[in-house]
């Protein structure tokens, strides 16, 4: 069993205080005798889980959540650089596709989801803002993704998510490719997820990985490899 409670506590405290540089130093120190990936797996990931719980309990500010996303992004960049051309980077990662639906430009949540999914080991294809249903589905088919994550902030843009469901149906991919939906409007109206054709939603970005895992497993059950 790894005894790194002090390191996790220090990282958590620094995130809560908004000390991004200090978090990076702490993780650099931890990685020095191990690796950045180890620092992610053994320190930051458990801290992010705790951050997610605090978010769910409304015991975390937006800025604290944002800093958590930034430090995760910083560490992912270091992992990327350290593992360039190595077998570790080539190791099979599970691809997923995410983006903001057509006409939606509210990207904060989607960016955090992207970082937290990558931290949890997913290969994320982030298509950005204002993504059409065809673009989502075509990219998922191209990359072999079994989950598409679509974000919308407003009710009017959330309604466009139906087009992704329609496109999946049109290409006979529903069941094989699952549709995760998220964004502020789904927090206010959870029933909307099903109304727009979503297969599931999460209360916040920190829980996205759990949702994607669940949907991925459902996909494999319904349409095995």
């Amino acid at each position: 069993m790894i005894n790194n409670e002090q390191e996790k506590k220090s990282v958590m405290d620094a995130i809560l205080k908004g000390e991004r540089d200090l978090v990076n130093t702490l993780l650099d120190d931890y990685a020095a005798s191990r690796s950045y990936r180890t620092a992610m797996n053994e320190v930051l990931e458990p801290v992010l889980e705790e951050i997610g719980s605090r978010w769910t309990e409304e015991n975390l500010s937006l800025a604290q959540g944002y800093i958590a996303g930034k430090v995760a992004e910083d560490l992912l960049m270091k992992i990327h650089n350290a593992e360039k051309d190595t077998a570790a980077k080539q190791a099979a990662k599970v691809p997923v596709v995410i983006g903001n639906i057509e006409d939606d430009y509210h990207s904060l949540g989607r960016k955090l989801v992207s970082v937290f999914l990558q931290s949890a080991g997913w290969q994320v294809y982030d298509l950005g803002n204002d993504v059409t249903a065809e673009e989502f589905v075509d990219k998922a088919v191209e990359k072999g993704a079994r989950v598409i994550g679509v974000s919308a902030m407003m009710y009017t843009t959330a309604e466009n998510i139906r087009k992704v469901r329609d496109e999946l149906d049109r290409q006979n991919l529903s069941g094989k490719i699952k549709l995760a939906v998220g964004g502020a409007v789904f927090k206010l109206r959870p029933e909307l997820a099903a109304e727009v054709g979503g297969d599931g939603t999460a209360a916040n970005g920190f829980q996205a990985s759990q949702l994607f895992e669940k949907l991925w497993e459902e996909s494999l059950r319904e349409v095995p490899l």
């Binding site: 937006l62 800025a63 944002y66 430009y105 904060l108 009017t156």
Partner: protein, 338 residues
């Protein structure tokens, strides 16, 4: 007593014939007059007709100018969308990246269409109510406006990591906000209400609030020609009020529906006006009887508090809220002296 006298009594803490009350019925006026929202939020006369209908049928003691914050973002270049049963919203922020801050220009409040609409509406409401019902102007907080000009992520990134650009952004917001707010006071509004989000520890670090936000707001608020009602902006406020007491021109605080008035009183003292805390947007999701019961509990809780105005918290009362709910609350208020 007129509504104006009732609201002044609440400000002064003196007795009135009944409890002053208001609901955020900015949007609801369009429902009462059957006005399409594309007209309601672009033609000042249509909005004023809607609020006249609100006054006739719902009889609140405070009338609001349009709760349409997106119009200010539009004035800075953001793309907005008009909805059929909600106020306009920002579809696409003007810039995405803090490095594009040089593109932002302070709009001309005498020329820009949306701002002219807001200013003209304020003037029409003041003319219509002629001092019998207070008119409350509604504007976006100058610390929140950047979030709808450049996106929440862009503004957070700037606030947390780039003091220089944050300073530039605050200067731009200050130039706009002070002139826009004072033009509304010149039109005769009695006070200005602002939902305050990037001012609250639920969004920002306390050190950001103390070091950046409060000094900036203090400078801007100090230049205003009238009082401000500090609105919770969708976040709990009671536990954080100590941060805002030193701000100039604060006339009162609107609390969140989850806030505890007693906790707020401990911080602000007995003489500060408090408003709220019946959640407005969710009123349509409960039965009229349940809404009245919620209102009754709040009124019972504050029955000894003369510096209290019963009001809805959060955003507009939703379109689908039954009129029966609003009249039920009004009828309840008739029996509540203050």
């Amino acid at each position: 007593m007129t509504s104006m006298e009732r609201v002044v009594a609440a400000l002064q803490g003196t007795n009135s014939d009944k409890r002053a009350f208001t609901m955020t019925l900015s949007l609801y006026g369009a429902k009462l007059t059957g006005c399409p929202l594309t007209e309601y939020y672009t033609v000042p006369e249509r909005y004023a007709e809607g609020q006249a209908a609100v006054a006739d049928q719902c009889r609140p003691d405070i009338i609001f100018t349009p709760f349409a914050l997106a119009l200010e973002a539009q004035a800075f270049g953001s793309e907005i969308v008009f909805l059929t049963k909600d106020p306009p919203n920002v579809k696409k922020p003007f810039i995405r990246n803090p490095n594009e801050i040089g593109k932002i220009r302070v709009p001309d409040i005498e020329q820009q269409e949306g701002l002219l609409y807001l200013r003209t509406t304020a003037r029409l409401l003041v003319e219509h109510f002629r001092g019998t019902v207070p008119v409350c102007g509604v504007l976006t907080s100058p610390m929140d406006l950047p979030a709808i000009i450049m996106g929440v992520d862009g503004w957070l990134e700037m606030l947390l990591f780039d003091r220089e650009k944050t300073g530039t952004m605050i200067s731009l917001m200050s130039e706009y906000f002070v002139s826009m707010a004072n033009s509304m006071f010149d039109s005769g509004i009695n006070f200005l209400a602002m939902p305050m989000m990037f001012t609250n520890p639920r969004l920002l670090f306390e050190k950001t609030i103390v070091e950046i936000v409060i000094p900036a707001l203090a400078e801007m608020f100090g230049k205003l020609k009238g009082p401000i009602v500090f609105h919770h902006g969708g976040n709990p406020l009671a536990g954080y009020l100590q941060h805002y007491l030193s701000l100039p021109n604060i006339g009162g605080f609107v609390l969140d529906s989850h806030d505890d008035f007693s906790e707020a009183r401990k911080t602000v003292g007995q003489n500060m006006l408090l408003l709220g805390n019946l959640d407005g947007p969710s009123l349509g999701k409960i039965s009229p009887a349940d809404a009245v019961e919620k209102a009754r509990k709040i009124l019972d809780n504050r029955k000894e508090d003369n510096h209290f105005i019963f009001a809805t918290s959060s955003a507009d009362v939703a379109w689908y809220t039954p009129m029966e709910t609003i009249t039920g609350i009004y009828n309840l208020i008739q029996h509540c002296g203050a």
